[in-house]
């Protein structure tokens, strides 16, 4: 059996014969691609674990993944896709100034004028009422109409002393 010691083998190192370039080049390229993939993959997945790991029975490193199914992990606000965005309309006034105006939701032009008329008429007929704050906590009625005529006959002691008999005398 041909045997070579470490020293003998190291002595031949300078006489190395380069292998066919295409094979080794392809191999090296593959290794580089894997390294690039791993670097990219690690960046993308780093948020799934906090770095804590353990070795399994095969000596492989495994991470304690922290993405358990909790309700709190699904509470991200979602955009309401059904809601239609209100597009602002460009309105140009007589002076040539343009402004973006949000259109009214459901009123048409007729409805708007009708509404304005109603508001105006209501404004004219309405009665202003001011609450009489000073009487709120009092036993006196706030509204004078609520006052019941309580003209009770007052007791007069002198009248009571005058007896009927004396009158007759």
């Amino acid at each position: 059996m041909a045997k070579y010691t470490e020293e003998e083998l190291l002595a031949v190192q300078e006489k190395a014969v380069a292998p066919q370039g295409t094979i080794i080049d392809a191999f090296n390229q593959m290794v580089e691609e894997v390294k690039a993939f791993q670097a990219q993959h690690e960046k993308a997945h780093v948020r799934f674990h906090n770095g804590d790991s353990f070795l399994d029975e095969n000596g492989e490193e495994r991470f304690y993944f922290t993405h358990r199914r909790r309700s709190s992990r699904h509470s991200e606000t979602k955009s309401n896709v059904r809601r239609q965005k209100i597009k602002e309309q460009l309105q140009t006034d007589d002076d040539g100034w343009s402004t973006l105006v949000k259109p009214k939701k459901s009123f048409g032009e007729e409805a708007v004028s009708e509404r304005d008329e109603f508001r105006k008429s209501f404004k004219e007929t309405q009665v202003k009422v001011r609450p009489n704050n000073k009487n709120i906590s009092s036993s006196k009625p706030a509204d004078p109409r609520d006052v019941v005529d309580k003209t009770a006959r007052a007791f007069n002691a002198f009248d009571a002393l005058v007896s009927d008999s004396e009158d007759s005398e």
């Binding site: 006489k15 080794i24 090296n28 390294k35």
Partner: protein
């Protein structure tokens, strides 16, 4: 006339130099005892990749000079991506438990958990001891040597044909010396059959 032939041959060749144009190549090379094949396990980059897709033979060589040419051209151990494996096996032996040559064997292994270890040097020493056949005396039991690159450790494994303790102990002792391990550290032998079982413990420790 002969010069004309040489020139024509050089012109036909795809390589820059040939044995005909380079006198140095006439020097006798150092043949190895057997031909060796370098295999590589590529880390998966796609879930659909199977083990068979990942384990690939890279190149086969039969002389010391060729070995150095390959070794100098491929990434060093520390330059390999995580989850990579280098396997150097005798030609015809696949670095799998199922291979006939491995099925009844096992492996001596040691894990270097300190990643500051000079694994490039230790891996080279392991390779030299295997191709130079100094890892064993005359047992002829070694099939190949494996390097596992993991995030938290490097592991060197020496695959053997047998689980015979008497034959294995001197090989384990040699591996320990090659890996420059102190007396306090132990290399472990585990048969491939036992490796299939969960929680299997090494059958020999040195």
């Amino acid at each position: 006339m002969s010069e004309e032939i040489i020139q024509k041959t050089v012109d036909l060749s795809l390589e820059d130099s040939t044995v005909l144009s380079n006198k140095e190549n006439f020097e006798s090379k150092h043949p190895l005892n057997t031909r060796w094949t370098l295999w590589y396990t590529k880390p998966p980059v796609d879930q659909n990749e199977s083990w068979g897709d990942l384990l690939k033979p890279v190149i086969t060589f039969s002389t010391v000079e060729e070995f150095w040419g390959i070794f100098n051209s491929i990434p060093a151990a520390t330059d390999l991506p995580i989850k990579s494996d280098y396997h150097l096996f005798r030609e015809g032996v696949k670095p799998e438990w199922e291979d006939v040559a491995n099925a009844r064997g096992g492996k001596w292994a040691f894990q270097f958990k300190d990643k500051k270890t000079n694994i490039n040097e230790l891996w080279l020493r392991a390779l030299l001891s295997v191709i130079g056949e100094t890892i064993e005396d005359d047992q002829n039991e070694v099939n190949g040597v494996v390097l596992n690159v993991r995030k938290q450790f490097f592991r060197v494994g020496l695959w053997t044909k047998t689980t015979d303790e008497e034959k294995l102990k001197p090989i384990g002792a040699n591996l320990k010396r090659v890996l420059k391990l102190p007396e306090t550290r132990q290399v472990e032998f585990l048969s491939h059959e036992a490796s299939n079982q969960r929680g299997a413990k090494p059958s020999i420790l040195i």
